[in-house]
């Protein structure tokens, strides 16, 4: 790819959400806004090579995209109808002018986020649309992230945009009484995007990093926008989610070794942890907790914070972590949370207590196909001295594991137990 093409792509990607939000607000039509932005990108590839990159790329993109939208509408039979809606009279009176509006582009991203995460859209559509419109990821990138063929992802996004248009999903900040549940939906989408990038089951390494970065970026934007929007209060869970993402992400460099193999928390080189992210995460968590609106993301962030603040694995405050998990289990009694709770209790009170908790939660039934359940159980058995049972559990985990890195790790554990 040529240099200018790369610059155009990077710039458009970085400004995508902001410019698109303003365009959608102006045009009232997501499809038209996206098509116009695409047209503008093609023009950029021609003119930026010739004239250089504009000083204010976002202003350039917005102005040119608007013109492209008008061009498209002129070719469209429905133009007469649209004209009234768009109040384009002023623009039409001076057809040839290329006026670059250097005023700050209104930040309509909040409206865009709420529209993309509207519950009327299927969750997988919300994820794809958010990454496409706010993240500026290309359809092939999103397809890669979710391990879905490109035409399938294309169709998913097209259908979502069609639903928005045909069903009349508005580009608005919801009324105050609806904001809590609508914000929950947005946070959940961002959480899933981050998880997709953070977990070991997604696509290649690069796209996973991209997803985490994108989720963090969008969560930051959301927190800033909520701060600025006077009719909305700061939301503790939004702060908690961003804190959670940063605290998890801070361990990125230490999670995988030079051979691409997993490094467990207990073995990680803590000097590789990103202290700036940790400090930012801790500060956000403090802000969140001060709002006295407890929630799941804040609890998860608090647990991650305890890990982040432990100088070594053995100095980890497992009692506090177990206590936090106990709270988390109450508000989110899902099998995976119960599993993590049992593991923490196993660390705080001994492996036998942890194993007993796994039995109490009946995790053998709900998580029988989940490799991490067997691995966690195996670990507790091993620490309890039950080597044969541990080896069998590791074997089960190995059979169910989905990535090479995990399989290598589990195999090594199995081997080590053969000699005990």
């Amino acid at each position: 790819m040529s240099d200018i093409a790369r610059i155009v792509e990077t710039t458009f990607r970085a400004e995508h959400g902001h410019v698109l939000g303003a365009l959608v607000s102006y045009l009232g039509d997501l499809d038209l806004a996206e098509d116009a932005l695409q047209d503008a990108m093609i023009t950029a590839l021609e003119t930026w090579a010739r004239d250089g990159v504009p000083l204010n790329p976002a202003a350039w993109m917005t102005t040119v995209a608007r013109r492209k939208a008008i061009d498209r509408l002129r070719r469209d039979k429905l133009f007469q109808e649209k004209q009234q809606e768009l109040q384009l009279h002023a623009e039409l009176e001076r057809p040839g002018e290329m006026e670059f509006d250097d005023r700050p582009i209104p930040d309509e991203r909040l409206k865009l986020i709420f529209a993309c995460c509207h519950p009327a859209l299927a969750l997988e559509s919300q994820l794809a649309l958010t990454l496409r419109t706010l993240g500026g990821l290309t359809t092939p990138e999103i397809a890669r992230a979710f391990l879905v063929p490109i035409p399938t992802m294309n169709q998913r996004i097209t259908r979502a945009k069609t639903k928005i248009r045909q069903a009349g999903i508005p580009f608005e900040i919801p009324p105050a009484e609806r904001v809590p549940e609508r914000l929950d939906a947005v946070l959940y989408v961002l959480y899933l995007i981050f998880n997709e990038g953070y977990s070991a089951t997604a696509g290649d390494d690069f796209i996973r990093q991209e997803l985490c970065n994108e989720a963090i970026r969008l969560a930051r934007v959301l927190v800033e926008l909520l701060d600025q929007e006077t009719q909305l209060e700061s939301d503790a869970e939004a702060l908690g989610l961003l804190a959670l993402m940063l605290l998890h992400d801070s361990r990125r460099a230490a999670r995988v070794d030079a051979n691409g193999e997993i490094v467990l928390l207990e073995d990680q080189d803590r000097s590789l942890w990103n202290q700036a992210e940790i400090q930012e995460g801790l500060a956000l968590l403090d802000r969140a907790v001060a709002l006295c609106q407890p929630g799941t993301y804040q609890l998860q962030a608090a647990i991650s914070a305890l890990h982040a603040q432990a100088p070594t694995y053995t100095e980890t405050d497992w009692r506090q972590i177990a206590a936090l998990y106990a709270q988390l289990v109450r508000i989110e009694p899902t099998p995976v949370v119960q599993l993590n709770c049992a593991v923490a209790v196993g660390m705080a009170q001994g492996p036998l207590v942890g194993l007993m908790m796994m039995n109490n939660f009946k995790l053998e039934e709900s998580l029988s196909q989940y490799h991490l359940y067997h691995a966690a159980r195996a670990d507790l058995l091993r620490r309890a001295g039950e080597f044969d049972s541990a080896r069998i559990a590791y074997q089960r985990a190995f059979e169910l594991a989905q990535t090479r890195a995990e399989r290598v790790f589990l195999l090594r554990r199995i081997e080590s137990l053969k000699h005990t």
Partner: protein, 121 residues
Amino acid sequence: MRYALLIYVDPAAYAGMSEAQQGAIFQEYFAVTDEMQKRGVDTGSGAPLQPINTATTVRVRNSKMLTTDGPFAETKEHLVGFYILNCKNLDEALEFAAKIPDARLGSVEVRPVQEIQYPPS
């Protein structure tokens, strides 16, 4: 934009109710319809339907008219009524759908009406 609010309920949900409870639900319907009218969204085209034992289904197959007793399908939840509302966007339609009493007992499907441009006669 016009939206159809299609109300589906399982008759069994009403089975255990006293007359007073059913009466309370009717009152709620009056109140909701009243609010729709006050807010200017009601098109007046909606109606509650009589119970499914009054339903008859017509199909034409191979030019033959087939008439059967009962609703079109053996489903648990049945269509009990509908509203056609003129709302500014989906959120406004959903807000009204949530106020419908049977949304608590059954489901309300919200779907935009196709605005057909009928050719001038």
